[in-house]
Amino acid sequence: MAYHLNFGYIWRHFDKLTWGLVLSLELAFVSILIGMAIGLSLALAYTGGGRRVRGIVAGYVEFIRNVPLLLLVYLVFYGVPSIGGFAYDATTSFIITLSVYAGAYMVEVFRAGLAAIPKGLIDAGKAIGLNAWQRLIWVRLPTMFRIVLPSLSNAYVSLFKDTSLASVIAVPELTYGAQWIKTNSFRVIEVWMVVTPMYLITGYALLFALQQIERRFAIQR
């Protein structure tokens, strides 16, 4: 018996998917912002800090990198509140998880970027009389961001895709919307046929936009 594709139920509940996609983008955006703040602070602490600071930062990075994100999602949503004796909603919990996760990857990106700043530029900043703080703001950070832009773009797109894991704690993002439709209609193939291109096109559009920014800010040699 041949399988007949039927998208009717999906189109009727398509708002679950569009709003899911919007939420996915929001989750990614907020987590990337917080993750960048974490990553930049810790990368600077690592670069300027002593052995103890370096050890703590390296420990955080290694922990996050070697634990599956799915496990972190469960851990933060179910584990942390029960230990701490409080509760938060799934969305907040997931943003915390993805931010901490993003932070660990950003530390590595920014650390490499800071190390790749030509030493001569820092000398030049010193020579015109900029103090350490001014060198950071006007010389090191602008140079570093231009160096790390390609790595950042990759991280952004990865993190956008990682938002799909929020579905396991019932955050109504795109994958959760897909699963809801699947459960209620049993149209398994159809729903993934629709959702996959949604991820694909959004991810590609994101990458394209970031590449335009890269091109605009790249340091020509």
Binding site: L121, A124, G125, K126, G129, L130, Q134, V139, P142, R146
Partner: protein
């Protein structure tokens, strides 16, 4: 103090010593540079001349001895009981603001245009209003022949043009002394002239300079004095005529022979 400043040197170096690990790079340097003088430092690579220059604005720290710029000890604050205390980053920044430096590899800020490269120090260090900072930057960029390149990024400029921006960036701060560290070594031969011409004009205007270079013609024509360094010491020191006539000095002879070979 005020009457003194006329005769006291802009840069006063006494018994300067510095080592990298066990390698003694500067082995007791004494040097005075008077206002308006152009002191040219020559010597084989590894003789310590770049390190000497980098110690003067404390891009390198020194171990012993003293460097004073305009009467102020560069590396240390007076400590009690003979102990010396290293200066804080902020104190150093203030001192460095009065010491200009131009680098072998230009070291222009790659994300800033020619004008912004010059404006940065005027704004953030001298705290000038934007309009005035831009006016000064444009004045100096025109002086070095880059009036039509104000909005160019370093990547859009030739090596010689980049180095002239580097000079403008340093002199716009109105430094008490300008340090030039092999500023033509990374340039194609045909671009050396345009950079040295700018330096020559600065010398004519009375800019105090310490110049590390391999350009012997420049040393002879523009230098008030030549210092020949080897092995971390000043071997010969005098007017260009005095120094370049000491052809019996073995090390100088060997050095000059190598330079000639490089030129041809």
């Amino acid at each position: 103090m005020a009457e003194n400043s006329k005769t006291s040197p802009v840069v006063r170096i006494r018994d300067l010593r510095k080592s990298f690990g066990t390698n003694l790079v500067l082995d007791g340097i004494d040097l005075d540079v008077q206002k308006g003088e152009v002191v040219v430092v020559i010597g084989p690579s590894g003789s310590g001349k770049t390190t000497l220059l980098r110690c003067i604005n404390l891009l390198e720290t020194y171990d012993e001895g003293s460097i004073q710029v305009d009467g102020l000890e560069v590396g240390f604050r007076d400590g009690t009981g003979g102990g010396r205390q290293r200066r804080s980053d902020r104190e150093l920044a203030r001192i460095r603001a009065d010491i200009g430096m131009v680098f072998q590899l230009f070291n222009l800020f790659p994300h800033l245009t020619a004008r912004e490269n010059v404006v940065l120090g005027l704004r953030k260090v001298r705290r000038l209003p934007l309009a005035e900072a831009r006016r000064i930057a444009e004045h100096w960029l025109v002086r070095v022949g880059l009036g039509d390149k104000l909005d160019s990024l370093p990547s859009q400029l030739s090596g010689g043009q980049q180095q002239r921006v580097g000079i403008a960036r340093a002199v716009a701060m109105d430094p008490k002394v300008l340090l030039l560290d092999e500023i033509t070594s990374a340039l194609d031969p045909e671009l050396v002239g345009e950079v040295l011409t700018v330096v020559q004009e600065l010398a004519r205007d009375g800019m105090t300079m310490i110049v590390v270079t391999h350009e012997m013609a420049f040393a002879r024509d523009v230098g008030s004095r030549i210092v020949f360094m080897d092995g971390g010491r000043i071997q010969i020191h005098g007017t260009p005529r005095e120094v370049l006539s000491q052809t019996r000095h073995d090390r100088l002879k060997a050095f000059l022979a190598r330079i000639e070979l490089k030129l041809h």
